[in-house]
Symmetry: C2
Subunit: 360 residues, 2 copies
C-alpha cells in the first residue's frame, strides 16, 4: 500500500524520537512492501519561531490531505521559554488545540497498562501492581471546556473570567459509541466518568451514554463520579477496562493513569475522527530538559506509529510486528535511562530504535 504520512516532529525530544519511529516505519515498509511518503509540517514552538504562529493554515491543509499524522511533541519550558511570553492563543499548545479541532479528532484513545517487565517502575505497591492492569481512556477531544467560549471582562471594576463547558447530544453520542465499540474488542466494560451531581453537561452525558449502552447489551456499564475515579485509579486500577469521559476530566484522568503505570515513556495515544484518519503521539510531553541528548525513550513514539498502522492503515500484522519487536527488546533487558534499573543494558534513543528495527 501507499500512504501519505504528515509528520510533526515538533519541539523538545520530538525530532529525535520521531526519527526513530520513521526508522521503524521504513523497515516495516521494506519488509511488507509498502510505500510511506512523509511530509513534514511545523507545529508548536518551532512553528512560532518560523512563522510567528503555532500552526499555519497551510500546515493544516497539508495534514488534511494526508492519510494520518504522526506527532512528536510540542512546547518548551513554560517559565524560561520566550514562547510563553506570547498571548495564550499564540503559544505552542494552541497549535495542538487548533489541529485537533480543524481535523475533527474527537476521540482520544490513551491506553494505560502495566508492562509486567516494568512493574517495578509502577508507583503503586507490589500487591496492586502484581495484579497488573490494562485500560484505555477514551476522552472526548473537541468539545467541553476546551472549546466553549472563553471571555475575560471587567465587571464592577474587576476582571471576571468565564469559560463555557458545552456538550450536545450528538457530540456525546459519537464518542460514547466509540467507547463501546472499543470495549467490545476488549473486556466489555465501560466506566463512564462524569460529575452528574453538579453539572448539566454530565447529566446529559449520563443520559446519552445510557441510551448508547442499549445497543451494546454485552457491555457492562458503570457510572462513576470524577472525584471517585481519581481515587479508584490509585486504589485499584485493575477494575478499569474502558474509561469513557469528557475532555477536561479525560485530560486529568489520563495523565493520572499514565503515571500509575510508571512507564509514561512507553505509552502511545491516538486521536481519531469517524473515518480512518487519525493523529498519533506519545502520552508524555516534550521534555525540553533532556532534548537533543539522544537519551529520550523513543518507544512511546514507535508505538504511536504502530497505532497509526493499526487504526488508520488497517495494517494489523505490521503493527503486531512492531509491538512484538518492542516486547522482545524489553524482555532482553534493553532500557533507556527513564526505565533503567541496575542489571539492565542502558541504551540511547537511536540504539533503542536500531534494536527494534533489528528484531522486526
Amino acid at each position: 500500500m501507499e500512504k501519505n504520512i504528515t509528520v510533526i516532529k515538533g519541539d523538545g525530544i520530538g525530532p529525535e524520537v520521531v526519527n526513530e519511529a520513521i526508522k521503524v516505519l521504513d523497515a516495516v515498509a521494506k519488509k511488507y512492501h509498502h510505500t510511506f511518503h512523509y511530509t513534514d509540517i511545523l507545529m508548536g514552538g518551532c512553528s512560532i519561531d518560523a512563522y510567528g504562529v503555532p500552526l499555519t493554515d497551510e500546515a493544516i491543509a497539508t495534514a488534511q490531505s494526508g492519510d494520518a499524522v504522526l506527532l512528536g511533541s510540542i512546547g518548551g519550558n513554560t517559565t524560561t521559554s520566550p514562547w510563553y511570553k506570547l498571548p495564550p492563543d499564540h503559544r505552542p499548545e494552541a497549535g495542538l488545540l487548533k489541529i485537533r479541532k480543524a481535523l475533527g479528532l474527537f476521540a482520544n484513545l490513551r491506553p494505560a497498562y502495566l508492562y509486567p517487565e516494568l512493574a517495578e517502575a509502577c508507583p503503586l505497591k507490589e500487591s496492586t501492581s502484581a495484579k497488573g492492569f490494562d485500560m484505555v481512556i477514551v476522552r472526548e477531544l473537541t468539545g467541553g471546556l476546551y472549546f466553549g467560549e472563553h471571555t475575560t471582562k471587567e465587571i464592577n471594576g474587576e476582571l471576571v473570567a468565564h469559560d463555557n463547558l458545552v456538550y450536545s447530544e450528538s457530540e456525546i453520542r459519537r464518542i460514547a459509541k466509540r467507547g463501546f465499540e472499543i470495549a467490545m474488542k476488549r473486556r466489555k466494560k465501560v466506566t463512564s466518568v462524569d460529575k452528574a451531581n453538579v453539572l448539566d453537561s454530565s447529566r446529559l452525558w449520563r443520559k446519552v451514554v445510557s441510551e448508547v449502552a442499549q445497543d451494546y447489551p454485552e457491555v457492562e456499564v458503570e457510572n462513576m463520579l470524577v472525584d471517585n475515579a481519581a481515587m479508584q485509579l490509585v486504589k485499584d486500577p485493575a477494575q478499569f477496562d474502558v474509561v469513557l469521559t469528557e475532555n477536561m476530566f479525560g485530560d486529568i484522568l489520563s495523565d493520572e493513569a499514565s503515571m500509575v503505570t510508571g512507564s509514561i515513556g512507553m505509552l502511545a495515544s491516538a486521536s481519531l475522527r469517524a473515518d480512518s484518519f487519525g493523529m498519533y503521539e506519545p502520552s508524555g510531553g516534550s521534555a525540553p530538559d533532556i532534548a537533543g541528548k539522544n537519551i529520550a525513550n523513543p518507544i512511546a513514539q514507535i508505538l504511536s506509529a504502530a497505532m497509526m498502522l493499526r487504526y488508520s492503515f488497517n495494517m494489523d500484522e505490521e503493527a503486531d510486528a512492531i509491538e512484538a519487536a518492542i516486547k522482545q527488546v524489553i524482555a532482553e533487558g534493553y532500557r533507556t535511562f527513564d526505565i533503567y534499573k541496575e542489571g539492565n543494558h542502558k541504551v540511547s534513543t537511536s540504539e533503542m530504535g536500531d534494536l527494534i528495527v533489528n528484531r522486526l
Copy 2:
C-alpha cells in the same frame, strides 16, 4: 466559653460517627470548663424524607445563627436509593452545595497526610511512603463550574447542555490569601494548580495568585497544570505543602490526595469563610453499605470536631488534646475495621470513641 454548635448528622454512617464526636466534645467541655450547646438540623436524604427538600430555609437560618457547623455526611446509594430518582436540585448533595453557598464557605481545607503508623495502608510503594507526606489542599468552594449557570436547551433538534465556569478577581484573591496564610504557618510552599494553557479563568487565577504572592515573599510559589498535578500526587506527594486550586480541580485532586494517604477514614476537612465561622466534616463519604453497624471509623469525624475547636473557637489547647488522644490510641494499636491489620486490636465505632475520651 459558651458555643453554639449546629449539628448535621446526615445520612449513612453520619449519625453514629457524629455521636462519637459529641462524646469527645462533651469530655473536652467538662475538662476545660466550656459549654457547648448542640442544635440538630437535617440535611441530605433525611431532610428529603422529612420535608421533601435536602435543606430547608429554616435549617439554614439555624446554622447561620450558631458559631459553627459539625457535619457528618450526606447521601445514599446512588443506584438503589429513591433520593436519586428526584430531580438533581432535590437530591441529597444539593443540600451540601446550598449550605456552602448560603453560609459563604469559600475556603475548603483538606489536609492529606500519611500517618506513620498507617503507612502500610498507603497504596504507594514503600520507597515513597517511607518519606511521608503532609499537605493541605486549599480548594475554592463557592465559585467556578459549581455555581455558574447550568442550562440544557433544545437546539436544532437536540439537547445541548451548558455549564459556566466563572471566577472574579476578588473570589480568587480571598482564597489565594487564605492559601498563603496557611502556608506561612506550615512549610511555606504554595503550589497553585490551574489549566492556564486552556482556560481564561485559570489565566486570571494565575495572575491574581502571583499578585497575592508578592505580599508573602517568604513563601515559595509554583504554578502547576492540573493534569500534571494529578500525576505528581501519585509520583511524589512529599513535594506538596499547600495546594491552592479552584473548585472542580480541588474536588478531584483532594479526593485523589486522600486516597494516596490510604486512610481516608482519618482525614477531616474544614469549610471556612473570612471570619471564624466554619463547617467541619470528614473527607470520606456516607458509606451507606456499612451504616448502622457500629463499625465505621469515627476518627475523621472526631478530628473534624478538633478542627472546629481550633479554627472556629480558637481552642488550640483543646484541639491539641484531642489530636494527642487519637495519636495515642493509634499508637496503642486500636483500629476500626477499615484500617485494621493483623496484630492490632479491632474495635467498634463506639469503642473507638470511648478510647479517645479515655485518653483525653
